[in-house]
């Protein structure tokens, strides 16, 4: 019997793939965490009306959201139940819109300012008086592309 066994298996040790699932799970978790549907939580109740002549909102980064509706029950004790405007995360008045537009604009290359759209998510029961004030402010801020968000009505 020789000291040096020649016929012992000489396979290359198998590469351990045990950590691969971890990496993939990390990816999975990353996607699940990062995929955020909306960046502002809506503090007003918005039941948007239905319409037929809809156009999809393109270029999400160019869209600023304005929500108008009665505050949701949690906030009603504090803010009452009259329709309010929500810009980003806070309730606002029409006077705040000018500043809001400027902040939104500052994030975007000046050449593309005319592509920016304001998505108005407005509850169907809101009275036009408030909306007209908002529209006037938007016009004053020269932010004129507006999309009235609505659900598709099936005929």
């Amino acid at each position: 019997m020789s000291k040096f066994k020649k016929n012992k298996k000489k396979d290359a040790p198998g590469i351990t793939t045990a950590s691969l699932p971890d990496i993939v799970f990390m990816l999975l978790c990353f996607f699940m965490v990062v995929t955020k549907m909306r960046d502002a939580d809506v503090k007003v109740r918005v039941r948007i009306p239905q319409a037929t002549e809809l156009q999809k909102l393109e270029k999400k980064s160019m869209v600023s959201h304005i929500f108008i509706g009665p505050p949701s029950p949690v906030y009603q004790a504090q803010f009452g139940s009259a329709p309010k405007i929500q810009l980003n995360d806070a309730f606002a008045t029409p006077d705040d819109i000018m500043q809001f537009v400027n902040v939104e604009r500052s994030a975007i290359n000046p050449e593309r300012h005319n592509e920016m759209t304001c998505a108005m998510k407005i509850d169907g029961e809101v009275k036009m008086g408030l909306i007209t004030d908002v529209k006037t402010e938007l016009r004053r801020a020269n932010f004129r592309r507006v999309s009235y968000l609505a659900n598709k009505r099936s005929n």
């Binding site: 045990a18 699932p21 993939v24 999975l28 995929t35 319409a51 006037t136 020269n142």
Partner: protein, 177 residues
């Protein structure tokens, strides 16, 4: 005592399973795209423009009052469902009916609402008016090119819109306060 090795569990397929999950999430996550009525607001002018003395036959007056009732050309209680058809007839009249527009380029639809109008009513009416224009452009596209409006080249679309321009003016809302 002989060294007994625990056989290693083959975790190779685990990666596949995880990838499968990953792909499943990627495929099923439909990021909800909002859609809405696209509107371009008129430019802000500090001084209100001179009231234009448009020939009244070229103006289709649509008024919504605070009780969400519609009046078209002073005719109250107009049903929203017939508004699209009425607008189409008005725009494409080409002078045949003396109460309607001379030609599509002169036709203006004037929409006025009240401060107390519900947004849903307003949007419904706006939607019908937009639908009227869309229908006109669509039929014009079919007549000229035999193709749907949306598939046309940009200049062709522009040509159609030049012949049938969208003049939808929104008057200052009535306020009772």
């Amino acid at each position: 005592m002989a060294e007994r090795q625990i056989p290693e569990i083959n975790a190779g397929s685990m990666a596949d399973i995880a990838f499968l999950l990953l792909v499943f999430f990627l495929v099923t996550t439909t990021i909800q795209t909002d859609s809405g009525l696209q509107v371009t607001l008129p430019q802000w002018v500090d001084e209100p423009p001179e009231p234009q003395d448009k020939n009244s036959r070229n103006v289709l007056e649509v008024v919504i009052n605070g009780a969400n009732q519609l009046a078209v050309e002073g005719e109250p209680g107009f049903p929203v469902e017939s508004l699209k058809e009425k607008a189409i007839r008005f725009i494409t009249n080409n002078g045949s009916d003396p109460t309607m527009s001379d030609n599509p380029k002169a036709a203006v639809i004037s929409l006025q609402n009240d401060d107390g109008t519900d947004y849903s009513t307003y949007l419904g009416v706006y939607n019908e008016l937009q639908a009227a224009y869309n229908a006109i452009w669509e039929s014009e596209a079919q007549r000229r090119f035999g193709r749907p409006y949306q598939t046309l080249e940009k200049e062709d679309r522009m040509a159609i819109r030049e012949d049938y321009p969208k003049f939808l003016s929104e008057a200052e809302p009535t306020r009772f306060d």
